[in-house]
């Protein structure tokens, strides 16, 4: 199965992220799905967004299992708080997560305050995408042509 986001969709998501960074004073944030794919990110250049998504999706899925074991429907957010850096992961939909990274103890409150609003905005974007057909521009971009894929990855020795 394949799904895709158009340039416009991604820009709408990025706009939510930029606003969240501005309001919460967080350092960086990203949106990923339950499989660990990166859907959009802002200011995550110093770290690897793929790795953060993979680990964030894994952590959140494990937390969901813990909630289930405890008889709770869901823990909607996960906060890991460190001395210098912290990370908050929030569910936007069943399959989409919002990951926010920030510094300083004093920002915890701001991040906790503004992340649910951002998560709701992300959720709204996906709901609006749900029933929309592809535009002409998007259809034109959907021409996937494989190059010769005989040897995709080669080792440097051996």
């Amino acid at each position: 199965m394949t799904y895709e986001l158009s340039r416009r969709d991604v820009n709408r998501l990025r706009k939510v992220l930029i606003e969240l960074l501005d309001q919460s004073e967080a350092d960086s944030c990203l949106i990923c799905d339950g499989a660990g794919h990166v859907l959009a990110h802002e200011n995550v250049n110093r770290q690897d967004p793929l790795l953060i998504s993979a680990l964030g999706a894994g952590v959140f899925a494990a937390t969901r299992e813990l909630a289930r074991l405890l008889g709770e429907d869901e823990f909607s957010t996960v906060l890991h708080q460190g001395m210098k850096r912290s990370i908050l992961i929030a569910a936007a939909t069943d399959e989409v997560l919002l990951v926010v990274m920030f510094s300083g103890e004093h920002r915890v409150g701001l991040v906790k305050l503004y992340t649910p609003t951002a998560a709701a905005a992300v959720r709204g974007i996906f709901e609006s995408i749900q029933d929309r057909g592809p535009t002409g521009e998007e259809s034109a971009d959907r021409n996937f042509v494989l190059k010769d894929s005989g040897t995709i990855f080669a080792g440097t020795e051996g």
């Binding site: 660990g36 996906f126 749900q130 051996g158």
Partner: protein
């Protein structure tokens, strides 16, 4: 579930190495990480225990230039093989696009191979997926050890479904068979991606509310 980002012109695909405990899943990724061209790989991250047993998963991104106009990113994962970590295996399998089933060729591990293969099908069923609908390859590892089953026996045991899948013998510790396996599963996943994508846009329906 493959993901296309039209803004960054990226395709993201997820491949999972599955198999019983100590069959060589992590070794496969370690060898790829060691030998592959630096511009094709990211860091290999292992979430393991003090005894080097995989606790959650190993993760390594690979990048390839195989679809015209797009950067293709393969997200490579392993699962923990130990029976007690089944919840973790089910989590790692979420949204999988392709599977490498690594089997241990030693006679003593045949029951574990069969159990793990069955477990793979069960965990896919939790996502409403069937193994037959997913690109996968089999790798018969540890062919350098003395007490191993012949390949035709392992084929009979694990590759006996309606449609036979590509299978490879390997000695992952030396790199033998590792890249052959990787290239085949990557190729199968890419062909499936192009086929699915040309059938019509999946859009983002799967990411909205259940």
């Amino acid at each position: 579930m493959a993901f296309v980002n039209q803004d960054t012109r990226e395709i993201q695909l997820k491949i999972v190495y599955y198999g019983p405990a100590r069959c060589g899943k992590t070794t496969n990724l370690e060898v790829v990480h060691r030998l592959i061209r630096p511009d094709h790989k990211g860091d290999l991250t292992s979430l393991d225990t003090v005894k080097d047993r995989t606790l959650f998963f190993d993760f390594m991104p690979l990048v390839a230039d195989v679809v015209q106009g797009f950067t293709t990113r393969f997200q490579m994962y392993t699962v923990p093989g130990q029976v007690m970590y089944n919840t973790t295996r089910a989590i790692v399998l979420r949204g999988v696009d392709g599977v490498v089933f690594v089997a241990d060729s030693q006679w003593s591990e045949m029951a574990a191979n069969v159990e793990s293969f069955r477990n793979l099908q069960q965990n896919l069923a939790l996502q409403n997926k069937q193994l037959d609908d997913i690109p996968y390859v089999l790798q018969y590892n540890k062919r350098d050890l003395p007490a191993i089953a012949p390949v035709h026996y392992m084929e009979f045991l694990l590759n006996n479904r309606g449609k036979r899948r590509p299978s490879f013998t390997s000695v992952a510790t030396t790199g033998e068979g590792v890249f052959e396996t990787l290239n085949m599963v990557a190729r199968l996943v890419l062909h499936r991606f192009v086929k699915d994508a040309s059938a019509g846009p999946g859009r983002a329906r799967e990411l909205t509310l259940a």
